[in-house]
């Protein structure tokens, strides 16, 4: 396939005013489907959050935002997402760096090894994690044999197991965007910085980090937005001991049947995700991020 555009084929984009073309109808089935099956339900959900049995009301939001219990739950979700993102970044950054610097077949192999776990079902991985966390599981086995602890300890349903599992499941989502930015980075820039007498820390802070910022933002946004909404992993690893927004939403619909509560919680989560996406696209557009 040639990239050059054939002359007989008209440029598609720079059309000043759009003209109806019968061929445009090929978009109709997909668009109509997505409008009905996606846009309408989401808008209805937003609508539902403002309605109770008596009509329009803000009762759902009053319940959620006025109750320290629910505020605490929103806090839990945000804390979970923040810590998961931070740990993923701390571990993922050097790992992605190494992956981007390695050349040849090894890069392909290591890349595949990072990528492969993504294709394994989250339920399966979380199941594996619960086995690892058992009193007679591998984590305790390692900790005892390496001499960190005397006797096996309880790990299941602790915050440690929660964060261990979250990082395990979502780490590739941090590494891949970082990797794709770092791969493009010209290593000569770093050499140049070093040859100008800059120390490694200085080079990292003034050259490497700013240049890889788009990857940090992309990976951070991705990991934050999926971990703030995570359901399976927290559910299996800590359960009710650490309630999150997801848990509340699921319970509201599946157990206690308080639809307005569920809808309000869902809209709040929607707002958090949307804010995050907007913020990250703003940050990416303003390179160098915080400096401006």
């Amino acid at each position: 396939m040639t990239l050059a555009r054939d002359n007989l084929t008209m440029p598609a984009a720079p059309v000043s005013r759009w003209q109806f073309d019968a061929k445009a109808l090929i978009a109709a089935p997909g668009l109509v489907f997505m409008a009905l099956a996606f846009a309408v339900p989401v808008l209805m959900l937003v609508g539902d959050s403002f309605v109770d049995s008596e009509g329009l009301s803000l009762a759902g939001y009053r319940k959620v935002l006025g109750d320290p219990y629910y505020i605490g739950i929103i806090g839990n979700s945000l804390q979970l997402a923040c810590i998961t993102t931070a740990v993923c970044l701390a571990i993922g950054y050097p790992a992605a760096w190494a992956l981007a610097r390695i050349r040849g077949v090894w890069q392909v192999i290591l890349f595949a090894l990072i990528f492969l776990p993504l294709t394994v079902s989250i339920v399966v991985k979380t199941f594996g994690l619960t086995i690892m966390m058992r009193r007679d599981g591998i984590i305790n086995f390692l900790l005892v044999n390496l001499g960190f602890i005397e006797r096996p300890m309880r790990l299941v349903f602790t915050e440690f197991s929660l964060y261990f599992g979250m990082v395990n499941v979502f780490l590739p989502f941090m590494i891949l965007p970082l990797y794709s930015v770092m791969r493009m980075l010209d290593p000569r820039l770093l050499d140049a910085s070093a040859s100008l007498g800059a120390g490694p820390l200085h080079t990292f802070l003034r050259v490497t980090l700013p240049l890889t910022m788009p990857g940090v933002i992309a990976g951070g946004t991705l990991v934050f937005s999926i971990s703030v909404a995570a359901y399976v992993t927290p559910g299996l690893l800590v359960g009710d001991r650490f309630m999150t927004m997801s848990q509340v939403m699921a319970k509201a619909y599946l157990n206690i049947r308080d639809f307005q509560l569920g809808a309000s919680m869902a809209v709040i989560m929607l707002v958090i995700s949307a804010a995050l996406i907007l913020a990250s696209s703003y940050l990416v557009r303003a390179p160098g991020g915080e400096k401006r």
Binding site: A4, D6, M10, V15, S16, R17
Partner: protein, 376 residues
Amino acid sequence: MSQHATAMPPATEMHQEPSYLAVSNVTKRFGAATVLDSLSLSVGRAEFVSLLGPSGCGKTTLLRLIAGLLAPDQGAIEVGGRDLTRVAAHKRNIGVVFQNYALFPHLTVAENIAYGLRAKGVPKAEQAKKVGDALGLVRMEAFADRAVTALSGGQQQRIAVARAVVVEPSLLLLDEPFSALDRKLRETMQIELRHILRNLGITSIFVTHDQDEALVMSDRIAVMNEGRIEHLGTPSEVYARPKSLYTMEFVGQSSRMGGVVKGSSEGLVEIDTPFGLVRAPGHFMSGSRVIVGVRPEAIAAGEGPAGEYNTVRGTVAEVIYFGSRTLLHFQTAQDGDRLHVELNRLPDQVAPGSAMTLRWRIDDSRVFPAPTETGR
């Protein structure tokens, strides 16, 4: 150097023949922009017509309208007496050779050529024979089973031609088919393509930017400008007797002198130009502002007999040496006026600043009304 005007080939017979392709009063708008403005064009059977014009003048649009890939806002398109205006592209039986060939990379050379035959439901055995013939036509028999991505530009070009003609289209459209080739290859392909198409007797419309290509290949040339056809004629008509200043300047080099008509008699007008009094065939009111155009090779050094020649004097501004010929530029006070003279032999001691006498046949001068520059 004056054969051009006198040695006109008798090229008028095709105009009388009933037209095979008839584009009548076609208008095409994109939003507010009128890209083709009530354009008409008629082409005879087996004729090779080039569309020549600057970028954006609507050549591709016209071709796509004829092909049926676009629908006109007004007007009609007929081929062989059949009205095709409302016929879908795939039912028109019109062949197209695209600029980057648009060969199908997932098919072999032979499969590419067979594509149109399969679409038309030609039996397998006949397909194979026709594909073989088409490959022979473009001298690519040895490449039948190659991947098209493994061909050179010129080879891809040939396959594109073979694919388009194998279905025996009623009309062949070619949109700048040589623009991706280097100059040398382009020249060979021009001759070869012309030869193939003439043998097949296919009526062809050929779009090009390149005036030399148009002059070399065409039976007739349609010079286009801003969605209209400025001049439709044989290469020598278009070159030697352009109907408009635009055509004169777009096709080939030309000298131009602005001036005012002093008087006219016996089909000749006398014009006062910065280079002196000049006579040319035509009818203009005294006092009208006109432009006189002359081809550089029609001008010679030295005086000529007064009844037949224009003789002027000018100061050489620039001398450009090409080996076999030399181009002289003469300057005037007026902007836009320029006199280009092409000489086979450089007279002795010509250098910028020297004055020279020049002559050309009165018949070689063309006069056009000056573009009105009102409102300034």
